[in-house]
């Protein structure tokens, strides 16, 4: 059974907002998430930890402590005042057992369960790399960083290694015909 990490607390056709069950319990940037059933696939593109109640700003508490752990141990209420949320970019969904790289007709429901996408599904999904266009054109200021993170995790889980990056690069280069610097920066960092 795949690991459940949270549930949907906001959704539009492109971006999902997820509240994680654990404080600091977000999967890493660029991770594939599986949302609801039949699953919608989304990629973690921004993680943030913030006060549950926006009207109660966080205060600095560390003056008299030596370590970060000490702060949390002595302030057990923090676990209930703070929460970790993330934005995930929708990149496809499963339809009749097939994985398609399109936006779902309607976004998942609020409270839909969010889990880390099983590696087998990720591998199947990333046989096709058209989805990288969603990432590149997400409009997020971190689009390239998310791309790099995603390529790094996917390629480390695939046996092809460089061959995968080569394929990805070919798709990306079509999207970025006029921007060799951006392409080379992504590909270089995907292999660091």
């Amino acid at each position: 059974m795949s690991q459940r990490v949270g549930e949907i607390i906001g959704a539009d056709s492109r971006v999902l907002t997820v509240q994680c069950y654990e404080l600091y319990g977000a999967p890493p940037l660029g991770t594939f998430l599986s949302v609801g059933e039949p699953p919608v696939l989304a990629i973690v593109q921004c993680i943030r930890t913030e006060p549950l109640d926006p009207s109660r700003p966080v205060l600095a508490r560390g003056r008299d402590f030596d370590t970060l752990d000490d702060i949390y141990r002595e302030n057990p209420q923090l676990e209930r005042l703070l929460t970790t949320r993330l934005d995930a970019l929708i990149v496809g969904y499963e339809s009749d057992g097939r994985l398609v790289q399109l936006l779902p007709p309607v976004p998942p429901a609020i409270h839909a369960f969010v889990s880390i996408c099983p590696p087998a599904t990720v591998a199947r999904f990333t046989d096709n790399l058209e989805f990288t266009r969603f990432l590149l054109n997400s409009g997020s200021p971190m689009a390239d960083e998310v791309m790099v993170a995603c390529l790094r995790t996917v390629s480390s889980n695939r046996s092809e290694g460089d061959e995968f990056l080569r394929r990805a690069g070919q798709i990306l280069s079509k999207e970025m015909v006029g921007d060799s610097a951006r392409l080379s920066s992504i590909l270089r960092r995907a292999r660091l």
Partner: protein, 565 residues
């Protein structure tokens, strides 16, 4: 390049598509040719593609044929030039090449064949360009054959396209219809190409040839200096169709050639205009050269020997008498005296070499005039070629005019072959020479020229423009390249092709004898197999009545001879 396998099947026009496309059309124009972007994922990298290669483009209505005229390294992001990817990053290099950085081929689509046309229909000049994204392929053997025809009596195999084994054939009828030229710097294969062309003319059977063989390399045998061996001349290959004449019997004998006739020329056959042509070579002033006409007026036909009998003071007196400058006449005398050294020049007027040559030509023979040691003397070569050509031309004009008036039949078409053509046809003298007249009057009198030259830039452009077909081996002088390409369709594009010909045995051919410009690796000449294949078609191809004046017994004897020789 591979002429791949894995046929894609036929496309309704009867052609097999072999292999994957080289690339697709992405731009261009009718005047500049089309641009083909090399396939990014294809097996072909730009280094596999050579300028001058023959390609086809599969349009929506036509199949186009063309040659690659240029190659370009293009990019979609010019920053690549300034900050190329690290060379130690193979993935990045691989990803960028073919996508952001890619190859572009420039192709001149010269011919087009409507899709779906029946076999046997030949392509015609392209009046449009293939549409965007039409795939382009390296040409197959079938493509070459559909453009250049299959080898037969009237189609002479001259060579193969670059990197292919197929045969490019010349249309012999179109070849001899107008004057043509063979150009190339020294050692590039002009002589070998000329030998092949002469065999072609012989095989075509419609024209005779008269070769002024400067270096005595076409008649009996020639040198392959690179391979250090002898190659056979026309007479050895086609003994019954070729007559050899010589100016230098001794040299012919030494070389194992037994000439049919030894040529001698009478002083009285030399005309003032022959000397006019030699003006530059003899460093004669205009005045001195013009004095010949005064001399002829004074002494008549025998002016030259009469003039040469004058000595010392006599020359001065003669000058006063004729009213020409003394020094000029002295110089003329001095130069003309050198002619005394030519044993083939004789007194008297029983020589008539021209008539003998014509006699052989009219019997359908091809005549090679070997110059022997006089080939090294440009004056002798120019004098004799010009003199004989003038007489032969006069005779042809007379015959042709008689035929037109209903008296007798047309003279058999004649191709006159000269080397160092720029000496006869340079702009300063060409207005006066017989050769220039022949080039200009086209085929009016059934005489055309084949000119061989390493300095085409020195030839009168008006004469160049009359050439129907041009064969050019490598040239490196800009002026020569300009001259050869002047007036050719797509000359700007052909320039790139010509500039990159290999130094030997490669030629660019364009004009009447080929439907489109093509670069060939010239057919091998000089091996036993090459002789066998060259003679094969001729035996089958010549009309029976070729050798006029031959009795049927003679013909039988000849045919038996040929079977066993």
């Amino acid at each position: 390049m591979t002429n791949g396998f894995s046929p894609y099947g036929t496309n309704g026009d009867g052609f097999l598509h072999r292999g994957t496309p080289l690339g697709t059309v992405v731009g261009g124009s009718l005047s500049d040719g089309v641009e083909i972007r090399l396939n990014p994922s294809g097996e072909t990298v730009i280094e596999d593609v050579k300028v001058g290669t023959f390609v086809t483009i599969q349009g929506k209505r036509y199949r186009f044929f063309g040659v690659i005229t240029d190659l370009e390294l293009a990019n979609s992001d010019s920053r690549i030039r300034h900050s190329p990817p690290d060379s130690d990053d193979p993935v990045l290099l691989e990803v960028m090449s073919g996508t952001m950085a890619y190859g572009v081929l420039s192709v001149m689509p010269s011919l087009a064949l409507p899709l779906g046309s029946a076999g046997g229909v030949s392509p015609s000049a392209a009046k449009t360009v293939p549409s965007h994204f039409s795939p382009s392929y390296s040409a197959t053997d079938d493509d070459v054959a559909s453009v250049f025809g299959r080898e037969d009596d009237q189609h002479f195999w001259i060579g193969s396209p670059l990197d292919m084994d197929t045969r490019v054939c010349l249309d012999l009828d179109n070849l001899v219809r107008r004057s043509f030229g063979v150009f190339g710097k020294s050692g590039t294969g002009k002589t070998f190409l000329t030998r092949l062309l002469l065999v072609g003319v012989l095989q075509g059977g419609t024209a005779s040839s008269l070769i002024f063989d400067m270096h005595s390399e076409y008649g009996w045998s020639g040198q392959d200096t690179d391979r250090n061996r002898h190659v056979k001349g026309l007479k050895q290959l086609f003994p019954s169709y070729v007559s050899t004449f010589t100016l230098d019997a001794e040299s012919s004998r030494r070389r194992g050639s037994s000439p049919d006739e030894v040529v001698s020329i009478g002083y009285s056959e030399i005309e003032p205009e022959d000397i006019e042509l030699l003006k530059d070579n003899l460093s004669l002033s205009d005045v001195a050269a013009a004095a010949c006409f005064n001399l002829q007026q004074r002494f008549g036909g025998d002016w030259m020997s009469q003039f040469l009998t004058h000595q010392g003071q006599g020359i001065g007196d003669l000058a006063d008498d004729l009213g020409v400058n003394r020094a000029a006449l002295g110089a003329l005398h001095n130069r003309l005296s050198r002619f005394r050294r030519y044993p083939f020049l004789e007194e008297g007027d029983r020589h008539n070499a021209a008539a003998k040559i014509i006699e052989h030509l009219e019997r359908g023979k091809h005549v090679v005039l070997e110059f022997g040691r006089y080939g090294r003397d440009l004056n002798a070569y120019i004098l004799v070629s010009n003199l004989l050509t003038r007489r032969i031309h006069e005779r042809y004009v007379a015959l042709k005019e008689a035929a037109e008036g209903g008296g007798g039949k047309d003279p058999r078409p004649l191709v006159i072959v000269i080397e160092e053509a720029h000496r006869f046809l340079n702009p300063s003298i060409s207005s006066q020479t017989t050769f220039a007249n022949i080039a200009r009057e086209l085929r009016k009198y059934n005489v055309t020229l084949m000119i061989i030259d390493q300095r085409p830039g020195g030839i009168d452009s008006e004469v160049m423009s009359q050439l129907g077909t041009r064969f050019t081996c490598a040239l490196d002088n800009e002026r020569d390249i300009d001259a050869v390409l002047s007036g050719a369709a797509g000359s700007r594009q052909l320039r790139g092709v010509l500039a990159r010909l290999e130094d030997k045995q490669q030629a660019l051919i364009f004009g009447h004898a080929v439907p489109m410009p093509v670069v060939v690796h010239t057919r091998e000449y000089g091996t036993p197999e090459s002789y066998a294949s060259l003679t094969r078609n001729v035996k089958a191809g010549l009309p029976d009545d070729l050798l006029e004046g031959e009795t049927s017994e003679e013909r039988l004897e000849r045919q038996i001879d040929e079977l066993f020789s």
